[in-house]
Symmetry: C2
Subunit: 267 residues, 2 copies
């Protein structure tokens, strides 16, 4: 199978135009036409065999799904709406390619993500890198540094289990734009991500409640396991489900009072 025939197969099946993308797959670059009043947010995530998934635990379809879901989760954490993605994929075996993209395209269609381009190559193990671009009204993107003293800290769902097909919380973007001061997605364990959020905002917090625990997980898992893909949100408002309060931001030594014990890629 030649590179061109693989790319032709992808072009035929990818949702590859529209959504602001004027030129999609096939030229030296993709071309995106910004709308008046929008800001663009960009995230990039590796998904590497043996590091982020194993073939025992994931089907190629699930890898494609999750590679895109990881990026969409970051888009949700900015309270943005997804626009397009660029997919770079290196594989040892061509058989991996089609189911990978079918899993990815399914999720892309669900959330109206245009596949604007990418790169294909060969490698000893599967390496995928995805960039997702989202759109948010100018000045409204939720940053990690936006937490204010007195904000309630929430998580958006039960934590503690590793999910093969996580659901990015794009359903919450509209609420977050209205109510939140700051947000980030929980991917390296709540304890570590809470620490990062508070350091970015130069605040501490008081823990007021345990996070909701996913079926099959322990409280320990809920605090420290990674890969939840729920959001950690700071808001001055009292919010109801799916927002579960876990603490209140306060002045103090920046960071979490709970020792962070999550995932560090170089530790």
């Amino acid at each position: 199978m030649s590179e061109r025939s693989v790319i032709d197969w992808i072009r035929k099946r990818a949702p590859s135009f529209g959504n602001g993308v004027r030129i999609g797959i096939g030229d030296d670059c993709a071309v995106y036409t910004p709308q008046a009043g929008e800001e663009l947010v960009f995230t990039t995530d590796f998904t590497i065999e043996g590091r982020h998934f194993t073939r025992d635990a994931y089907t190629p379809r699930e890898v494609g799904y999750k590679a895109l879901a990881r990026g969409l989760s970051d888009i949700a954490a900015m309270a943005a709406a997804p626009r397009f993605a660029l997919i770079s994929l290196a594989v040892p075996d061509e058989e991996f390619i089609k189911p990978f993209f079918l899993g990815l395209f399914g999720l892309a269609r669900k959330y109206n993500v245009t596949i604007a381009g990418g790169d294909l190559s060969q490698s000893d193990k599967v390496h995928c890198d995805i960039v997702v671009c989202g759109s948010v009204p100018k000045g409204k993107a939720l940053l990690r540094s936006g937490v204010k003293p007195g904000d309630f800290l929430y998580v958006t769902g039960p934590l503690g289990v590793w999910k093969n097909r996580p659901i990015p919380r794009l359903d919450l973007s509209a609420s977050l734009l209205k109510f939140a001061h700051a947000a980030m997605d929980i991917t390296d364990g709540l304890s570590m991500d809470l620490d990062r959020l508070l350091i970015a905002s130069s605040l501490s917090c008081e823990i007021t409640a345990a996070p909701p625990i996913h079926r099959g997980a322990t409280l320990e898992d809920a605090w420290h396991n990674g890969e939840d893909y729920e959001l950690l949100v700071a808001s001055p408002k009292l919010l109801t489900k799916p927002f579960h309060p876990i603490g209140i931001a306060v002045a103090g030594k920046p960071g979490s009072p709970l020792p962070p014990r999550g995932w560090d890629h170089f530790r």
Copy 2:
């Protein structure tokens, strides 16, 4: 060395704000504020150890330089100006990271490329994926499909040698915006890239002259070797240096009359 300390090192040295990038490294996403009247172009390229470079032939600094240069060459091919890049890097050994980024940052400063974000991970071999975003006046991006019958076809410099430190032809963007109908960068061998350009424009061509040959290369190399990072340009105007005429676009069976024998990643 922890992931955070690596990222801190990068943040201190990267040209990471400005150029439209309102929020750079360190949040869930980077935030870019588009200007009125601009379109954005995006390209993504893998640079993989054993595939795109070997450690015998390239220093880590050269790998960082070239990884970004490859993307900038695509930006030049659209007649765009670079804005920012996102860098994903997976390495087996931490020693690789700093010189890689120093090589990359040097080139980024030269062409005013903001480093807006990225991802770091571990892998058995070096895998780098870079996305570069460029800006071009709305509707003016040069596409592969823009060649018109009667256009002169040009290459922008001598071809045929593999370059460790290729110079992206961003110096030509202003001229191309004025004079060109279409452009692409020559990275898989002139014969293959000419074929692709003509197929995208549904045209054939007459070859009128041999391409200029790089010192140390043969005519065969100039036609078929990859990795030149010069541009292939179609223009109705008679252009002078550095534009070297090689042919004229004509109606006919789409593609090059010369058999393409360049680089195909899955052949």
